[in-house]
């Protein structure tokens, strides 16, 4: 039977064409071909003032983007889950955004910094596992989920509400801690305690229980393995980011216990420790509000990446920062994410200008 292989090849080609053809809006649009960041912004600081234990490689501001996308994506899903079942969530669109943005950020640093093997490996591991997870979800939701989905994706069953809560708790957690520390296991009894067995949308209830149970079991197991693997291959990361500011804010810090002073210099500058990750941006915003400027962040004075969530029509419109790429927020029409870079010395000004434009900073990628 030669007919079948021939037909299969044909169908796979057509399917591939449909999947990869250019669609509007594109999941990710680069600001230009290749590296769009001025080369002089991509030079490692030769003589950092920041002590060695607080230094981090300059290219990591870019490489942390794909990792953070895996927070932005569940965050978008959690928002969506309050009003829609996640059955119609655009999982594959997010997979494309993940890999495309990884390609673009890598284009920016390629050639300017030595290849950061450890970081790339980590991105591939989490990228591939997320791709597999999202692909399975798409498959399941398309084959089964769609058939039991209530009209307009209304969140009417206990199980879909459980899912919405789970998503929100998960996102809140991973903003602070690594995902694999999330306690999926304790949610398994909760799934059965907080949902009724019978009820309207009976098939939907069964389908969701099956799906949620599967997800919780798999993530419990996978999280356990990743935790072991991470312990074995990466050092425990510091929870702080050291910054050198040009002006010691003095008493302005009293209402901000999360900002620690390490050393104040006689020229007025100071070395501060700010919380890392999610809390870094609020701390920066607080310092900017006091008129402070930045000289080094984690020892770097080169480019730093920020993402903002802005209306479709927004453009930065000031030369201190350069857009790198934009990604539409598929579940919130009219909104887009824009990744921009600015040298550390202009970060304060950029934050200030963005605030004036009432544009929300989603995250500052503190290396």
């Amino acid at each position: 039977m030669l007919r079948l292989p021939v037909l299969t090849i044909l169908m796979v080609l057509i399917a591939g064409f449909l999947f990869f053809r250019k669609k509007q809006p594109a999941p990710t649009t680069p600001a230009g071909k290749g590296c769009v960041v001025p080369k002089e912004w991509l030079v490692s600081n030769p003589h950092p003032v920041t002590p060695a234990e607080h230094l981090r490689p300059a290219d990591q501001t870019f490489l942390t983007y794909p990792e953070w996308f895996l927070v932005h994506s569940p965050a978008e899903m959690a928002d969506f889950a309050h009003t829609h079942t996640t059955t119609t969530f655009p999982f594959l669109y997010h997979v494309k955004q993940l890999w495309q943005s990884y390609g673009i950020v890598y284009d920016q640093i390629k050639g300017s910094f030595p290849f950061n093997t450890g970081y790339h490996v980590m991105i591939w591991v989490i990228g591939v596992s997320t791709t597999v997870e999202y692909a399975f979800k798409t498959l399941y939701e398309t084959i089964i989920g769609r058939l039991t989905n209530p009209a307009n994706g209304a969140v009417v069953t206990d199980e879909d509400q459980f899912n919405a809560r789970l998503m929100q708790d998960y996102v809140d957690f991973i903003r602070m801690r690594p995902w694999y520390e999330f306690d999926f296991a304790s949610r398994i009894p909760a799934l059965f305690q907080t949902t009724s067995f019978f009820g309207p949308y009976f098939l939907r209830k069964l389908d969701r229980k099956y799906m949620l149970l599967t997800e919780l079991l798999v993530k419990t197991g996978y999280g356990y393995l990743i935790k072991l693997g991470t312990k074995a291959s990466y050092d425990e990361a510091l929870p702080t980011t050291a910054v050198v500011v040009d002006r010691f804010p003095g008493s302005g810090l009293t209402s901000h216990p999360e900002i620690q002073v390490v050393k104040a210099e006689s020229d007025g500058s100071a070395l501060l420790l700010l919380p890392r990750y999610e809390a870094f941006h609020p701390a920066v915003a607080a310092l900017v509000a006091q008129g402070v400027g930045f000289r080094e962040i984690a020892g770097n004075n080169s480019a730093i990446l920020l993402t903002v969530l802005a209306p479709d029509t927004w453009n930065p419109g000031f030369p201190e920062c350069k857009p790198v790429f934009t990604q539409p927020i598929k579940t919130k029409p009219g909104l887009k994410r824009v990744a921009v870079v600015t040298p550390v010395r202009w970060l304060a000004q950029t934050v200030r200008l963005l605030k004036e434009q009432s544009v929300n900073i989603e995250h500052i990628y503190d290396y």
């Binding site: 039977m1 079948l4 169908m11 796979v12 449909l18």
Partner: protein, 583 residues
């Protein structure tokens, strides 16, 4: 018979019977998912979301049925699909079972191994055609060149049945086994045709004495399946295992075995039903004239009911090949093969159209592990590659050249090790073209004393090239002398030239084949050789008697044992009593 080729795709997608092998399952799954994705995307974009729901019965239906058939492949019922309801473990087990586990290598309760034919290729039971009287059937052979209308087809299931039928009837009788002979040897107009294939029992088997007694309608492949578990192998048979023992005895066949020769060398005794229904046993010592008249006797004296055959060890054999100039072959053969005790099979392939080079292929006894997984040759539903090559060698420009210099060198790169039984288990199906209506593949064979090898090859090549014969292959085998059968084709030590060629089926094409065949026969006979009788009867009676000088003795014996000339077929009608047909 080879129904699967004509089945529509829907059969694969929407039926639950039978088995599906791993590779087919991957392909069909890829097909289902990619087709679904394409239709789903196009429907959403052109009509809208709701329109996609009609795809679901097709999607879920085909996924279920193909998965069920895949489960059948490892002897699991389709209900095991319900394992998917056990979260995590169920799907993991199913993914392994469906996508990765190999199927059973044997037949199981859901069917035979996929893509393997259930059985060796068989000829029909006699065709019906409009206009035939009640009971009449058309009996044809594998070439489809010799249709004969017989009065009735009788298929005995016991020797008693057969004897009774001969006792109570008069009139002409023809006998067919596998009907792979090619010149009407199995039928005669308006005869009672006896289809021997129902008599296929093993009657006696002794592992210690290495003998087996069988009913003559049994096929070699059936015997192989029977003796293989005892590590035994049929001593002499052809390369293909489709033939019946009775048909092979009546032709006194040979294979590619070294140190052996005509089948009669491996026969201990036969039991014969004579024209009046009486029963005699014959061996070299008991009724020897019947023994030597019936073996190789084309059903002239009586019907072979049973046979007692020798068996040998089923050894592993390793292939070794060497290409050489044809002129070097004879001396090379004498020193390397003829007296090599380890040589089990040997043949030389003479490359057309120049016939100047030979590839000598020898299978030597070995203690190494065979490279094939099965002990017997697995059968396939179709042989697309083999058919393509047959077509390409004969129908394309430089086809023969490509075979000699590109394809065979590649094929012979491998150094396979097979079991003796495996290597004697080929299925004629691999040679079967899609259709035999316009062109057909035909065999011929010539025998010459070994020292005449070069002389005959040169004459043969000259005749083939003069007539532009579309020769696919000339395979050379070796045989020791026949111990005395009347129609012995090996009156001394001989080389056999098996010629496989393609011919058109039109009348003029047949006439032309007749002309060059008679030239070849003259060439063989003039070198003190012979031609083979199970193929088309192109030889003149004079040629026949020169090639088979003892035929007269057989004819005399037939007069006494079959005085009313009951046993007919094209062979006897042509050479024994040509006039009897006209009356």
């Amino acid at each position: 018979m080879r129904l699967k080729h004509t089945l529509p795709l829907s059969f694969l997608l929407f039926t639950t019977r039978g088995r599906l092998q791993r590779s087919s399952y991957w392909i069909v799954s890829l097909f289902i998912f990619s087709t679904f994705y394409v239709l789903y995307t196009l429907l959403i974009e052109s009509i809208g979301d709701q329109s996609t729901y009609f795809l679901y019965p097709l999607l879920l239906g085909s996924l279920t049925t193909t998965a069920m058939k895949r489960l059948h492949d490892s002897n699991c019922s389709g209900y095991w699909l319900l394992a998917v309801l056990i979260p995590v473990l169920g799907p993991i087990w199913l993914i392994y079972q469906l996508g990765f586990k190999k199927g059973d290598r044997q037949k199981n309760r859901f069917g035979t191994v996929p893509d393997e034919a259930a059985d060796y290729f068989k000829n029909d039971l006699g065709q019906l055609r409009p206009g035939l009287k009640t009971g009449e059937r058309i009996i044809n052979d594998v070439t489809q060149l010799n249709p004969v209308v017989v009065a009735e087809v009788f298929r005995p299931t016991s020797v008693e049945d057969l004897r009774e039928r001969l006792r109570i009837t008069t009139g002409p009788v023809s006998v067919g086994g596998g009907r792979f002979s090619m010149g009407g040897q199995t039928a005669s107009p308006q005869s009672l045709h006896i289809d021997m294939r129902g008599l296929n029992q093993v009657l006696d088997f002794s592992k210690e004495n290495r003998t087996i007694k069988v009913q003559a309608g049994i096929r070699w492949c059936d015997i192989q399946r029977y003796v293989d578990p005892h590590d035994l192998s049929i001593k002499i048979m052809q390369t293909y295992a489709n033939f019946t023992v009775g048909g092979s005895l009546s032709v006194n066949v040979h294979g590619r075995y070294m140190g052996l020769g005509p089948l009669i060398l491996a026969v201990r005794a036969v039991e014969i039903v004579l024209a009046d229904g009486s029963f005699v046993r014959a061996s070299r010592t008991e009724n020897p004239e019947i023994f030597f008249g019936v073996i190789g006797g084309y059903n002239g004296l009586g019907i072979i009911a049973t046979a007692e055959l020798d068996l040998v060890d089923n050894v592993a054999v390793r292939r070794k090949d060497q290409k050489m100039a044809r002129s070097d072959y004879y001396s090379w053969f004498q020193t390397h093969v003829r007296s090599n005790p380890d040589a089990v099979f040997h043949n030389g392939d003479l490359y057309p159209p120049a016939y100047r080079n030979i590839r000598a292929v020898t299978w030597l006894k070995t203690t190494e592990q065979p490279t094939v997984k099965t002990r017997l040759m697995p059968l396939r539903e179709s042989y697309p590659l083999e058919r393509y090559f047959l077509w390409a060698f004969t129908e394309t420009f430089f086809g023969n050249w490509r075979r000699e210099y590109l394809i065979d060198p590649l094929i012979y790169l491998r150094k396979p090790i097979h079991w003796r039984n495996y290597e004697a288990g080929y299925d004629v199906a691999e040679l079967e073209p899609r259709s035999r209506t316009k062109r057909t593949y035909v065999l011929q064979e010539y025998f010459v004393p070994v020292r005449q090898f070069d002389a005959f090859t040169e004459r043969m090549a000259e005749i083939f090239n003069r007539f532009g014969v579309n020769v696919i292959n000339v395979s050379i085998r070796h045989a020791h002398a026949d111990p005395g059968s009347y129609l012995a084709w090996a009156r001394g030590e001989v080389f056999a030239f098996v010629v496989y060629y393609k011919q058109r089926t039109s009348e003029t094409a047949r006439q032309e084949v007749g002309t060059w065949t008679r030239e070849l026969i003259d060439a063989a006979v003039s070198l003190d050789g012979a031609y083979y009788l199970p193929y088309q009867a192109h030889a003149t009676p004079a040629q026949f008697h020169r090639a088979y000088p003892d035929a007269k003795k057989l004819f005399a014996l037939k007069k006494t044992l079959d005085p009313d000339f009951r046993f007919h077929n094209l062979f006897w009608n042509t050479y024994y009593q040509p006039k009897s047909l006209e009356s």
